[in-house]
Assembly symmetry: C2
Homo-oligomer: 213 residues x 2
DNA sequence: TAAAAATTGTAAGAAATTTTTCAAATGTTG
DNA sequence: CAACATTTGAAAAATTTCTTACAATTTTTA
C-alpha cells in the first residue's frame, strides 16, 4: 500500500491496483462512449470485472447499476490521481537514438508532460536540433531547471555515464529520475527513481515463450 | 504463480519474484566479484535480504553461509530462466524515432536478442538504412519471418495502425508482440503480448511526486 | 407499476506474497 | 581448536491482494 496524507477517501492504493488504473486510463482515452461497465473494461484487459470494480472503488467515483461508470468522470479522477492536469516540464539527458526518439514522442501532451530541453555532452551534437529543441550542453542544466521549474529528468545516456549524470541532476535540484539506461542507479533518499530498462520487457517474453505457451 | 511443466525444481515463480530476478540479473552483470551476499544485493536494490534469499531459493542454486552466492552460477541460472542462452531473432515494425532507436539499441546482444529486420509502410523510408539494416516494406514480412524463424516482433507504429499491424504479424506466424504503441491491443489466445508503453513509467513518477515525497 | 434483468458495491473468505524468526552451516579470530 | 560473527535456508506468522458471493440499485419490459 502507498499511504497518502490528505483525507477525502482512503487514498491508499495497492501497487498492483495502481498499475491497473494506468491501464484503465489508457483504455478510456480511446473510448468515445459516455459509460462503460466493469465487465467491458475487464474483457478488454483480460482481467475480472470484480477486480475492476474493486480498483475503481478506491476512487471518488461511483458507478450506476445497469449502466456502468461515467467515462469522463472516471478519466477525471484518474487524471487527478496521476497528476495529469498539472503539466510537468521535463528534460532529457542524452541526445542519442533513444533520447531523440523520446524528445519527439507525441504521447506526452495528453498526460501532462512537456519536454523543455535535451542535453548532451558531445560537442558534435550540441547545437543540432531534435524536433524543435536545440541540443544543449550540460553547463546549461542549472539555468534550465530553475527557469522551467523542472522536477523530472529522463536519462538516456550510456550505462557507464548514467550514475554520473544522475548525481549531477540531483545536485541541480531534480526530484525524479526516469532512467532509460540499463544500469542500477543510486539516488539519495527523497529522490524518486523509476527504471524503464527496456530489456526487462523482452526478458519476460523470452521467459514465457520458452517456459510456457 | 506461473506454472511450468519441466521437472528439476518447483519452477513456479510468483510474478513479483520474476520481476526482481530480472533486476538481480541486471545487477550481477555489472559485478565482477566471485560471490555476493543476499545482504549486498538487497542494499543495492533497496529491498530486504530475506526477500532476496527467498527469490533465489526458487533457483537451482545454493548459497554458502558466510560467503554468499556464487555470481557466475547465479547468472547461469538466471540466463537459463530467461532463455538468454538461446538467441531470438526479432523484427521491428515502424522505422520512426522509436523503432530506429530500438534497432540501434546496444543492449540486446547480452540478453540473447538480435534484430534481423525493420519494416515500414512509408515509401520514403523503405530502402533507407537504420544502422546496418535496410528498412523493408511489409510485403517482405512473411519471407523474413520464415527465413529467420522470428517469433517476436516489436511494434513501434502510431497508435492508430497498431492493431492492424498486430493482426498482420500474428497472421504471418509471430508468437509474441512487444508493443511500444500507446494502444490496448488484442491478440488471439496463445499469442503473447507485452506492453511497453513508456507513458506508464512517467505516470508513476507524477503520481508519487504529487502524492508523496 | 410490478417483475425481470443487468450491474454496482462490499463483506467475507481464499490465496499469494512478504516479513519475521531462528536453527544450521561456514568462515574468522584469538 | 574453541568461541564468535556472519550468512543461508526454511518454517511460521503477518500482511496484502484477489476471488467469491450476494445484497442493493437502477433500467427495461410487460
Amino acid at each position: 500500500m502507498l499511504k497518502n496524507h490528505i483525507g477525502r477517501k482512503p487514498l491508499m492504493f495497492p501497487k498492483p491496483t495502481l498499475e491497473r488504473l494506468k491501464l484503465y486510463y489508457a483504455l478510456l482515452l480511446t473510448e468515445n462512449k459516455d459509460y462503460i461497465s466493469s465487465d467491458e473494461i475487464a474483457k478488454r484487459l483480460k482481467i475480472t470485472p470484480e477486480q475492476v470494480r474493486k480498483d475503481i472503488s478506491h476512487l471518488n467515483i461511483t458507478g450506476k447499476p445497469k449502466v456502468g461508470y461515467h467515462i469522463p468522470s472516471l478519466l477525471g479522477e484518474l487524471s487527478e490521481l496521476f497528476g495529469i492536469s498539472v503539466t510537468d516540464n521535463i528534460i532529457i539527458v542524452g541526445a542519442g537514438g533513444l533520447g531523440s526518439a523520446l524528445a519527439r514522442y507525441k504521447g506526452f501532451e495528453k498526460i501532462g508532460v512537456k519536454v523543455v530541453a535535451i542535453f548532451d555532452n558531445d560537442s558534435e551534437k550540441i547545437g543540432t536540433f531534435v524536433g524543435e529543441l536545440m541540443v544543449l550542453p550540460l553547463s546549461d542544466l542549472q539555468r534550465v531547471v530553475k527557469r522551467f521549474k523542472v522536477r523530472i529528468a529522463a536519462i538516456c545516456v550510456p550505462e557507464e555515464s548514467a550514475q554520473e549524470v544522475t548525481d549531477l541532476l540531483v545536485e541541480k535540484g531534480i526530484k525524479a529520475i526516469w532512467n532509460f539506461a540499463p544500469a542500477i542507479l543510486h539516488v539519495p533518499s527523497g529522490i524518486l527513481l523509476e527504471n524503464e530498462d527496456i530489456t526487462r520487457g523482452i526478458l519476460s517474453i523470452k521467459h514465457m515463450l520458452d517456459k510456457k505457451g
